[in-house]
Structures are given as C-alpha cells and as structure tokens.
Symmetry: C2
Subunit: 389 residues, 2 copies
C-alpha cells in the first residue's frame, strides 16, 4: 500500500487536529512551526520542523523531510498543505518540489490571502455570489467618496495578513477615515459597505482533486471582539436560506482555480430580508467547522487530508447528532472555563496545548452535542454565566 | 489550575487512543514501551520512556518523568495507569512513589492478572456474579476428575499472562488433557466447564476514585481465532438480558478493592436460556469499547483518564448514534481492508501506526455508525467479503 506524508505550513490548533485525524487514517502529518515539536501540532506528531512557515529555507527543509531512505522501494505520496493562508507563496514557488504536490494550489492561496483580490475574484466570476459593495481605498479622499456613495458606518479592512478581526476598522463618519487608515497600519486597504446582518453563518465546503464538491451542514456563529465565540449547528435558518447558503458556498469554491482542493470555510451573512451575502473564504479547516469532529460523519480535518492526499472523499459528512454547539475557550481564564464546559452533558473537549495564555487567544474549544435544542439549552444552564460573558 | 500527568505502562493502541484523549482534555500521557516514541502511543505523545513495562528501573524512570523543574510553583497531579494488566506488580511496589498515585491499584491488578484468582475472587464475593464451574488443574488426574464432573469438552486456560485467546485450549476428551497441559506451556492452569453461549457480550464499567459506578451500553462481539473481530452496539438482546448484563458488570467492579478505578472491560456470555454468565474482566480500556469514541457521549479512553486522574466522571456515556459496529483490521492484509472499510458511509478509522504487520495482529479498527441496523447492513454490503472472511 501507498504511504502518505503531508507537510503542513503552520502548527497551531488546526494543524494539531489535522495531525490527529492523520494518525487515525495512517497519513503522517509533519508541521512546520516556530515551536516545532512543542507547537500544538508538533506535540501530537511524530516529527516537526522548527521554523517559520514564511521562511523559504524552512519550507525547503519540510519538503526534504517528505523524502526518506528506502523510499525507492515503496509507493509514497507527498503533499504540502496549509493551516493558515498567510504563507509565503513566492518562497514556495522558488522551491524545487520534485513530486511533492501542493493543495490548495499556490494560485488559490494567492487569490484568497489578499482579501480585496479575493472579493474582486468572486464578484468578477460568472457565478452567483452576492456580496456587499466594496472598493480599494488609497486615500482619505477615496474613503470619503466611498462613504458618500454607500453611507456610514462602513468597514475598512487591511487587504493582506488579517484574520480573527485583526485588520478591521469600523469607519463611523467622514472624520473617522483618517483614524481608520492610521489604525490599519498598511497602505493596502479596502472598504466594504455596512452589512446589517441578522446573523453570521458559515459552511465548510470540501473539494476533491477531481473537482467533486460536498458541503457540510450550515452553522451560525457568534463572535466577541471579532473572534469566533460559539457555533451552532444546524443553524436556525429557513430551509430556503439554508439551501441558499450551501449554494453560495459551493459557488465560491467553484469560482476558484482547479487546484482549490481541501476544505474551505466560507463565511456568510444572513440578512434580515432573507438574503445571504458572501463575506470571505479560508482555504483550510476553519474554526466554524470544529463541531464536525463529534457531530458529523467525518471531521473537516480528516476530510481535508483525504482531499489533499487524493483519497476518496468521505461518503457521509452529514450531521449525526440532533444539535451541536461549539464554544471557544479564550484568553487568560480559558482553562477554568474549559473544565467547567467539559462537565456539561454531551461535552467533548479539545485543548490546544499552547504554552502561553494570552488575552483573546484561542486555547481550546468544547463541543456539546444534544438530541435537540431544548435539551441543549437545558444542559447549558450550568454555564449561563460563561456564555453571557 | 492543576497540571495532570499520567504515566502509562504500555504504549500500544490502547495507550495511543488514551494519549489522544489526554491531549484533548489537557492531560499529558507519557507511555512506557519498548519502542518509546515510535510505539503506537509514543508517536502521538509529547514524550515517552523506552523500555519494558515489566522493568522496575524503567517504571522508576517513568515515575521520575512525572516530576519536573518548576513543579514547586504549581499544582501537579501525577498518576500511573496501565494499558495492559500483565505488569510487574512487585517491581511497582518496590518503587518510591512519593505523591504518584496508581490506578487501578496494585491490589486490583493482582486479582485480575491471575485469571484463576480473578474468578475465585468473583465467586467468593457476596455479590451476584454467576459463572460456569472452574477449578485449578495440577495434573492429568485432576483434569480427568474435572472432566468427569463437568463433562467434555472443557476449556483449559493459563492462569497468568494470557490475552486475545493466547493460553486457551479446548480439551475434547480425556485423552486430550495431556495435549492441553503441554500446549499451555505452564504448570499454573485451570479448567472451566464448557459454556455453550449464544453470543459473547461485553460492558465497559467506569468507576471513579469515590466509588461512583457507571456503565456504557452493552455490546455483542464476534471473534476469529479468539481475537475480537467485530462489536455491535446496541447488542441484540432482550431488555431483561441487557439489564442483567449491566447488573453483573457493575457487580464485578463492585467486588474489586476500592482502588479499582478507571474503565473495566467486563466480558460476559449470553446463554441460550437467557442467562448471563461472567467470563472475565480487564482493568483498562478494552477492544470491545473502541466504539465509544464515535458512538458515545464520552470515549472509554477519556473516561479512563478522567477517573484515574480524579476528575469528575463524564455526565453522558450513552449511545448517541442509532447503531455502531466496530471492525478490527488484523494481520497482513489489514491496510487494504482498513482503506476499504473507511470508504463505507459513516466510517471512522483508527490506524495504530505499528511498524510491523504480523499475522493476526491488531493493526487498526474502523467504527461504522448508522441511524439503524437496516441502514448499517446496507452500508456494509460493499465489504461483505471482508466480514465473511
């Protein structure tokens, strides 16, 4: 049988859960992370490379690690994938990859890692992907024009390197534009017209090397300081809005190049008028898909590995419990909260093993599965104070 | 918050799944195994000790590994547990353990690791634990007396060191006794009268440090060459037989000393007349409890760790899918079989990462969850040849 080795750029919690999923189906995951074998992913992996996933030399080292003495005598499949989209695409392209394949492809990563380019790509695709108005902002003047055209408040966002709400600024009025441009600390920014959504939702889309596309169930999620706090699946949406979300999610991934292989976390806005608008996409397992570990036929992490490694996609990625809620445990009190949540009926914990507690940092999450929403609400009563926090 | 470190004697697949469960709830698992960090458990652990779990010096090294510089400044809980009962109890007792606790206790292990002593213990307890007749056999003469009293065939079993059917011999008739005694290759053997059961069933029993006892759902299982091949949960039993199995399972664990803490795999016979008879118990997670990872509110591995570490027991260990079947993938063709099983709807794989394929060796398992038995049977049609093998 074939051996499969997957190098992962990044070794955080996504890489950790990917590595565990890999062990389970005999795919060896090797993370590249500044903390090496002490990173969240490194701790659960057979080996790791210590270094930055932006450092070409280190990426080269990771590629070399996929080759071993004795490989001539067996069939080995070698893949590089990512747990974060902000990798150094130029560096990767400069490396001699021999038979190592990269999924999602560099072309896909380049489109997604630049949020402005990403949105333009979606708008210009011939596919049905509705979204709010947006434009690049190169000066206060352009910011004013945007405000006049689409109204205040609006969002000002850094085009590159942003995640978990970092690199976002709410422009309240004309006078606030200067503050926004200063706050973002980069010249390459764009504005998005205000989206007065009812709730934020997300759908994990899975694409195989052959272009087969599958969708996980839609979740709704809440955020605190722009960091995901909870997800609920199934999302409380009309059947129509639910199908629309899946349709748009699939269109987003269809619009990407053929090399867009793996799991894609598509974030959407559910509007009060019933519309669904596109927000953004991540080319990897996503926080809003953590619930899939316990709640679905196959987790997003295993699905991602199967897709990038060219195995068949899992047959069943539907919800196999009545309802599931995921709660991120963040910041300095994360461990206390984690232990309390673990005591809830139907709770499963995932601690990330990060050395250092930091304000707002994702330290772990707990997923609670119940037969129905009423039971879930009841089970959650003992942590009411945590959830209201 | 308290740090929890658990040293595990043994580093096979049970230790591996225990270590992954540990990561998820922030319990550090450190296995002791001849293959060290390359053992199934070592591969997924932050560190491991290389050596035999029967070697006192190595156990001592494991104990020392539970202490680290800087520990004075924090609260640390240190525990030793087992993934196999055939450990060296004398060696463990000779080690200075300081504040390291051992669960299940040595007293418990001593009772269980000697099958004859184990059965006598159960028979002599004042609890209701029905079982077949048995007696120690010191000579061919005693073997004949046993045969005359209880009939042929009967089972001849090695009292110590036996598992997965190793150390069992079916005595066909009087003339066969000599062969049996020779085959078992030890003088310390006992006979059990023949149990013409309808099916073999098992129940995982969980006991906390405080003596709280909980039971997982009952499973039925099939064996091939005395090695577990499949488990099915829920077992196809009358409600009465099912409750009786749980009752006996709980009695078995109740009969053990107070230090009997953790998960206990109780194997039982479901007789054609509706009776349930006790067969044997393992003081650790058990092959017939693997299904709990996907199918129950909390896996046997996490439950075991929570119990031995003195955390609260999980609130929900009930079945949260309609039905689940676990299939062991054994021997030289294990990987091919594993990949095929993985393709079934609702399948989750657990590959053990063992370096070497060997005939009959447990290389991995796949658990298939479905809404109902009919769907399960349908889903299994594509691997009919595997299951009939």
């Amino acid at each position: 049988m074939e051996e499969i080795r997957v190098g992962v750029l990044g070794g955080g919690q996504l890489g950790r859960m990917m590595s565990i999923a890999g062990h389970n189906i005999d795919i060896e995951v090797i993370p590249l992370d500044p903390k090496g074998i002490l990173s969240p992913a490194g701790q659960v992996s057979i080996s790791a490379i210590t270094g930055s996933f932006k450092d070409g030399n280190k990426i080269n080292e990771l590629v070399k690690k996929l080759y071993r003495p004795g490989d001539e005598e067996k069939k080995v499949k070698r893949v590089i994938t990512v747990e974060i989209e902000h990798v150094n695409c130029d560096a990767i392209e400069s490396i001699e990859l021999k038979d190592v394949e990269i999924y999602p492809s560099i072309k896909t990563l380049r489109i997604i890692q630049d949020k402005y380019k990403q949105k333009k790509h979606m708008r210009e695709s011939c596919l049905d992907i509705p979204m709010s108005d947006f434009d690049e902002i190169k000066s206060i003047e352009e910011g004013k024009i945007f405000g006049e055209r689409y109204g205040y408040p609006y969002m000002l966002k850094a085009c590159r390197g942003a995640y978990d709400g970092k690199g976002n600024y709410v422009v309240k009025d004309e006078k606030d534009i200067k503050n926004g441009l200063g706050f973002l600390n980069t010249k390459y920014v764009y504005a998005e017209s205000w989206c007065d959504y009812e709730k934020e939702i997300a759908v994990m889309i899975l694409r195989s090397r052959e272009g087969l596309i599958k969708a996980y169930p839609v979740v709704e999620f809440t955020s605190k300081n722009s960091i995901c706090r909870t997800t609920l699946c199934p999302a409380n949406l009309s059947e129509e809005m639910n199908s629309r979300a899946v349709e748009i999610g699939k269109n987003v991934v269809k619009s990407l190049p053929n090399g867009a292989v793996g799991v894609f976390g598509v974030e959407l806005f559910a509007m009060r008028n019933g519309e669904i608008l596109y927000n953004e996409v991540a080319p990897r397992p996503h926080n809003s898909g953590h619930y899939t570990i316990e709640a679905c036929g196959c987790s997003q992490f295993e699905s991602h590995l199967r897709a990038v490694a060219g195995l068949s996609l899992p047959k069943d990625i539907s919800l196999r419990v009545g309802v599931s809620m995921m709660i991120n445990t963040l910041g300095l009190k994360a461990k206390e909260e984690f232990m309390r949540l673990l005591d809830i009926e139907g709770a499963s914990g995932h601690w990330y093993g990060k050395e250092e507690l930091r304000v707002g940092r994702k330290m772990g999450h707990v997923t609670i599965c119940s037969n129905d929403v009423k039971t879930l609400r009841n089970n959650l009563l003992i942590v009411k104070d945590v959830l209201n926090d």
